[in-house]
């Protein structure tokens, strides 16, 4: 039981770090790192919830986490490509407040 608590605490800490980074960081790369850290916190939590607490582990959450990792990797790759394109066009890899844009 104590190891499960440890997992939950680690996951909560990671999630907090992720949220903090997402809000504080200016550079898009850092924001993406932060989101990935948040994602990993959730994966840890899901694996811990399926954990071998009494005998054999439950396979389904592990399959879900695997799918989640695949999605996180592809979403990150897409975000990186978008960031590079943004950098090529504007010379900056951060977000600004120009809602309406120019025409």
């Amino acid at each position: 039981m104590s190891s499960a608590v440890l997992f939950v605490i680690v996951a909560a800490l990671l999630f907090g770090i992720g949220v903090y980074g997402l809000i504080i960081a200016g550079h898009l790369l850092r924001k993406l790192f932060a989101i990935n850290i948040m994602g990993n916190a959730i994966f840890i939590l899901m694996v811990a919830a399926s954990g071998p607490l009494d005998g054999k582990p439950d396979a389904l959450p592990q399959a879900l986490v695997l799918t989640g990792i695949v999605i996180a990797v592809s979403a990150t790759a897409f975000a990186l490509a978008l960031m590079v394109r943004l950098y090529q066009l504007t010379g900056q890899a951060s977000l600004h407040n120009n809602e309406g844009g120019d025409d």
């Binding site: 959730i42 999605i71 592809s74 897409f78 977000l95 120019d102």
Partner: protein, 482 residues
């Protein structure tokens, strides 16, 4: 037959998206048509079955739960499938002129378009919490990719902001799914409803999931990403994003609320969600009144109109259910028409700044007519589809003596009329100022026709309301709950 049709809805666009990247240039247009045109036909056998049996269910490739995937279609998902098919065909008509599939721009655009179609279909068929997560992610990524095809800095900035928020939102949703699975060991949307007891952990999970979904649905005050993203995307993309992509997130919230969390005592939360809707209607409409660009007005109008979909939570009756479902469809058609027309205007003038639109009715009569027709439906004038939706909302509020909500719905209609008449007055009743000698590029007639057909459908929906309302009633969980 039904099962083949269901599979076709998901795999035909998916296959088309992959093949587009492989086939020679001159075959691409034919391939796009070959994929998009049969989609409404595939819906016919499904509609026939749902009409008789209220719902269709199938295990994909015969694999049963828990590792298999189960698809389920009832009248609500069917209605959204029809809306999506309609939009894919008619907005696609404009997209064909804007992004000809044989060009490099077309090659960037059409695979994503078809991927988005496949994602929306898979989402609407899904009946378990985790598949909803996967398909929602697919829809979001394809949608953001489509915004990025515009290649303008403003659009890319908006796409990036949307992406970051959407990724965070899906993580909140996933966390909720993980908690629910840990609690009851099932992911089935409907079975979870029977197994979950109201309590601290399920409530936390539900709040996490709904918060994530409200970000993706751009419900006030989580709407900040929407106007820039929808206002700067290419015309056909804005149309599809505003008309259906944000709505599928609300659709999942409805599913969670009325199926999974059915019967939980949460009056404070109901009121809170309703108040968010009220905030959306007032704030979105007020900001739509002060925008300087046509597409931004329409984007803020989306923020406002999405608010109505939240009124179902405090009202929660059969009438309100029919109203919300009907409003979802009629707004989808009208908003798509507005964005298609605005896209044509933007492409013709090179700008959509409102002060440059003076006297446009003489130069682009068809597109301005489309704007006017769609506006009639959006502000809820009879006999349009928009009128039926708002009228049913008013009736639902009247039935319960909810005067506050009644006032809100009436005020929302009035505000919509204000921001839409502002555009119409500018385009139709102001003489063209002489300072601007902007040259005009006539939009392709097919693109204008696409908008007109969508606007006519939004009006015509008012005459075809009976079967839609009957079907919606059959999907009201208060009726079919076992």
């Amino acid at each position: 037959m039904t099962e083949a049709a269901l599979a076709g809805l998901v795999f035909l666009p998916l296959l088309g998206a992959c093949l587009l990247l492989l086939v020679p240039r001159q075959w691409r247009t034919a391939l796009v048509l070959l994929v998009v045109v049969p989609l409404p036909v595939l819906l016919l056998p499904i509609t026939a079955v749902v009409w008789q049996q209220q719902a269709v269910q199938m295990a994909v490739a015969g694999h049963a739960l828990p590792l298999g995937i189960v698809w389920r279609v009832d009248a609500l998902s069917l209605l959204l499938l029809w809306l999506n098919a309609f939009l894919l065909v008619f907005v696609g008509l404009q997209a064909l002129t804007r992004f000809p599939p044989a060009t490099p721009a077309g090659l960037r655009f059409w695979p994503l378009w078809l991927l988005l179609a496949a994602g929306i279909h898979a989402l609407l068929l899904s009946a378990d919490l985790f598949n909803l997560y996967v398909t929602l992610e697919l829809v979001t990524l394809a949608g953001i990719g489509l915004i990025a095809t515009s290649n303008r800095p403003a659009a890319l900035q908006a796409a990036m902001r949307y992406l970051l928020l959407a990724l965070m939102a899906s993580l909140l949703y996933l966390l909720g799914v993980g908690l629910i699975y840990a609690e009851i060991g099932t992911l089935d949307l409907y079975e979870a409803g029977n197994l979950l007891e109201p309590g601290l952990l399920p409530a936390t999970a539900m709040v996490l999931m709904i918060t994530g979904l409200l970000v993706k649905a751009a419900i006030f005050p989580l709407h900040a990403w929407l106007p820039a993203a929808h206002g700067n995307a290419p015309g056909p993309v804005s149309a599809l994003l505003s008309a259906i992509v944000v709505k599928v997130s609300i659709y999942i919230v409805w599913r969670l609320w009325f199926w999974t969390a059915e019967g939980w005592p949460m009056p404070a939360l109901e009121l809170f969600l309703g108040l968010l809707g009220a905030g959306a209607i007032l704030y979105g409409s007020a900001l739509a009144l002060v925008q300087k660009r046509l597409k931004m007005v329409i984007a803020y109008s989306t923020v406002a109109q999405l608010g109505y979909l939240m009124l179902i939570f405090p009202l929660a009756s059969l009438l309100a259910w029919q109203a919300a479902g009907f409003h979802l469809v009629s707004h989808g058609l009208a908003k798509a028409a507005l964005f298609v027309a605005a896209g044509n205007i933007l492409a013709s003038l090179g700008t959509d700044r409102l002060r440059r639109l003076a006297g446009l009715d003489q130069r682009l009569p068809l597109d301005v007519f489309t704007l006017a027709l769609a506006s009639v439906s959006l502000m809820g004038l009879p006999p349009s589809g928009g009128f039926i939706g708002k009228w049913l909302f008013l009736q639902a509020a009247w039935e319960q003596g909810a005067w506050g909500w009644m006032a809100l719905i009436a005020l929302g209609g009035l505000l919509a009329a204000a921001y839409l008449f502002r555009i119409l007055a500018l385009t139709c009743f102001h003489p063209r100022s002489h300072g601007h000698s902007s040259r005009l590029r006539e939009p392709p007639s097919r693109a204008s026709l696409a908008g007109l057909l969508l606007a006519l459908a939004a009006i015509g929906l008012g005459f075809a309301s009976a079967p839609i309302l009957t079907m919606l009633a059959s999907a009201w969980p208060g009726v079919i709950a076992p």
